[in-house]
């Protein structure tokens, strides 16, 4: 007898996921080597949205950059410009008025909620498919997000690329009737966010799909540079808003939710709890917003370009995805000599290569979704 066909080693079945795939959250390509349903090894390819922002920033001057950078992490655009203007203000030693700082934080926190809502919604699509319960969750999240975008439109005139942060202050002041609108938003969103948290944390199928899936240990999370909900989901209580407060975060009272196991479930719950904390911060902002100027520099007919002194500086903020930092090397001109964006999604996504091997194919999308990458941020 010849060797029977079942005993032959057929090798792995290589399956390409992406760059166009419903659940790669953008343009990401994974090559899965499957043995049955199990993943033996993976290769990952990125750079499908590499737009050369770091090169572009060597051509534009400091005042032109915030709107360009807002296109980077397109789920929370304000975080990008907030980090950048803070980094520049740190080199130039510019003081920002308290009112401006409050407005910045207000917009950033509202966008954190909207970003986490998109993360939950698209996670629903990963788990439930576009033709099922996942789509319902997705649409509920987008329905609530529209309410936040309405406030954004009211404050700044655009839906999410708000372009509100400028070096030295903010571009738009908050109108008196906006306050009541935001109050209404808070009272609308609070029960709904609670509902959604209950909806997923009491769902047996959701727990079956996410508990003990994609477990990231504390050590791995730190060494690979993971930050944000990834780090906090693994039980490390680290949030730049609390640990190294920037803007006016030290004036607010809020908690840092953490998980225990570091699995996909914990990361999702941490995001949901963060939403509630952000809503608390928004509440405190509109209760205590001080009067005053919104810009430290007087408007001139021909505004002066920002010229930081020679040197380098690094400044990081807590974006919805984690530590978003800007490392700026200035040679004394009005154009950055070199700007490095420390993208949270890039470091978080690198965990994929450690987490996927050994899991099921169906888990691969669950793990990828729980890392919540934004490819404008990964590829820059």
């Amino acid at each position: 007898m010849e060797d029977r066909i079942v005993e032959k080693d057929f090798g792995d079945l290589a399956v390409n996921m992406g760059p166009q795939h419903p659940s790669t959250h953008g343009v990401f390509r994974l090559k899965l080597y499957l043995q049955g349903e199990r993943i033996n090894k993976i290769e990952s390819f990125l750079g499908y949205l590499h737009r050369g922002v770091e090169k572009l920033s060597e051509k534009l001057n400091y005042d032109q950059l915030p709107p360009v950078l807002e296109r980077d992490d397109y789920l929370s655009p304000t975080s990008n410009s907030l980090g950048f203007v803070n980094a520049v203000e740190k080199i130039c030693d510019i003081e920002v008025s308290r009112r401006a700082s409050y407005i910045r934080v207000l917009v950033a926190e509202l966008q954190r909620i909207s970003s986490h809502l998109v993360a939950l919604g698209t996670y629903g699509l990963d788990l439930g498919g576009a033709l099922g319960g996942g789509a319902s969750l997705f649409l509920y999240c987008f329905r609530e997000r529209e309410k936040i975008l309405d406030i954004m439109e009211d404050l700044t005139g655009t839906r999410f690329h708000t372009n509100i942060n400028q070096i030295g202050g903010v571009r738009y002041d908050i109108k008196s009737d906006s306050i009541s609108k935001i109050n209404k938003l808070i009272s609308d969103l609070k029960p709904i966010l609670e509902d959604y948290t209950n909806m997923i944390s009491n769902d047996e199928i959701f727990m079956k799909r996410t508990k003990n899936i994609g477990v990231i240990s504390k050590k791995l999370a730190e060494e690979s540079g993971g930050s944000g909900p990834i780090l906090r989901g693994s039980g490390i209580n680290f949030d730049i808003r609390k640990n190294k407060p920037y803007e006016c975060y030290s004036e607010f009272d809020f908690n840092i939710p953490t998980g225990q196991n570091g699995d996909a479930y914990d990361r999702t719950i941490v995001r949901m709890k963060e939403n509630v904390e952000s809503l608390n911060i928004v509440q405190q902002i509109i209760e205590g917003i001080p009067e005053g100027d919104i810009h430290s520099r007087k408007p001139l007919k021909s505004p002066k370009l920002t010229r930081p002194p020679k040197g380098s500086s690094y400044f990081s903020i807590e974006s919805p995805r984690g530590e978003l930092g800007f490392f700026i090397v200035s040679d004394g001109t009005s154009i950055p000599y070199r700007m490095k964006i420390r993208a949270p999604s890039f470091s978080n996504l690198s965990l994929v290569e450690k987490l996927l091997p050994g899991t099921f194919m169906a888990d691969s999308v669950v793990i990828l979704g729980s890392l919540d990458p934004v490819f404008g941020d990964v590829d820059r």
Partner: protein
């Protein structure tokens, strides 16, 4: 000769055209119900009111779309797949007393024959996925085969429980038996077998939470990934025909078929099937999907032992009742 041909073909033609019409509007109903659940409007602008021409537009568009056959695929099997599925799912309706007073094919073992025919559908799915020369389609049909073959067991057994209680395998008998009380109201066994039937029907009809073969989030669109145009339309239609067949089966076996509280008519079968279908829709648009190993484990560890226990109970009950009546 011509007359006999007409006699033979007319009921088939009637059934198929009514069925296709119902199924086309099932798709519309599904989109409307989903939209309602997701606080949307759903199809609206194609045909006033509420987009009632939408199924027609979809069908016509799919007819005019290009037909693509992937390179290196087995084109014979690739073309046979959708036709097979459509034919099989339509053929099973020959046995159901669904619109006319009598089923087209009146045999004593009509229930068994129905199950036998409708399980042939997996062959069509398998050949279409295998011949697509697409890895997603291949993984999808391998999952689908495992799923359907394992869920066939609890499905059949859960349907056997009422059959044993009634003592017949013919749909006519089953309906006649339920003139007074429906099987669903039969203490314990009725509800147990209905729950098992419902779960396995979801898996059989490839609905969420068991729609692993069409899991868009992993497998693009499963075994239909490479199909376009009219062949895709056949798949789409056959899926709903098959599901509607299961709904009709459920309404006959558990909900009394044509028997109603106020009047008895075969139209009641359709109405009950539609209600049953809506129930499946509610499930579909509110659940996530489970994983293949969890799905199979649930079946072999929980569902099958439970259904066998139910079957044993039904046999004992029947034996006891028959014995005592002697």
């Amino acid at each position: 000769m011509f007359n006999s041909f007409i006699e033979f073909a007319l009921p088939i033609f009637k059934t198929i055209s009514i069925l296709i019409l119902i199924v086309a509007y099932l798709v519309w109903l599904e989109r409307k119900v989903a939209a309602k659940m997701q606080s949307r409007v759903g199809p609206y602008s194609v045909g006033y009111p509420h987009g009632w021409l939408q199924p027609l537009a979809d069908a016509l568009k799919l007819m005019t779309k290009d037909d693509s056959i992937p390179k290196n695929s087995d084109s014979l099997l690739f073309n046979l797949g959708p036709v097979w599925i459509m034919v099989v799912s339509l053929a099973s309706f020959a046995l159901l007393p669904f619109y006319f007073n009598n089923p087209m094919l009146n045999v004593d073992l009509s229930f068994m024959l129905f199950i036998a025919i409708s399980s042939l559908i997996i062959i069509g799915i398998f050949i279409s996925g295998w011949s697509s020369n697409n890895k997603y389609a291949l993984i999808s049909v391998l999952r689908m085969t495992a799923q359907i073959i394992s869920y066939e067991i609890p499905l059949v057994i859960s349907l056997l429980i009422p059959c044993i209680l009634i003592g017949s395998l013919s749909f006519g008998e089953i309906i006649r038996y339920q003139e007074d009380t429906w099987i669903i109201f039969y203490p314990l066994l009725g509800q147990l077998s209905f729950i098992i039937f419902f779960i396995s029907a979801l898996a059989e009809g490839n609905r969420i939470p068991f729609d692993l073969s069409e899991a868009e989030s992993e497998l693009i669109s499963g075994y239909t990934t490479e199909y376009s145009g009219i062949k895709f339309a056949l798949f789409y239609l056959a899926e709903y025909v098959h599901l509607f067949g299961i709904c009709v089966l459920g309404s006959i076996i558990f909900f009394g078929g044509s028997n109603g509280p106020f009047f008895s008519s075969n139209i009641l079968i359709v109405i009950k099937a539609l209600l049953f279908f809506t129930l499946i829709l509610f499930i579909r648009w509110s659940f996530f999907r489970i994983r293949i190993d969890q799905l199979l484990k649930f079946n072999w560890v929980k569902l099958i032992p439970l259904s066998f226990a139910g079957l044993l109970l039904a046999c004992l009950l029947k034996y006891y009742m028959d014995f005592s009546s002697l």
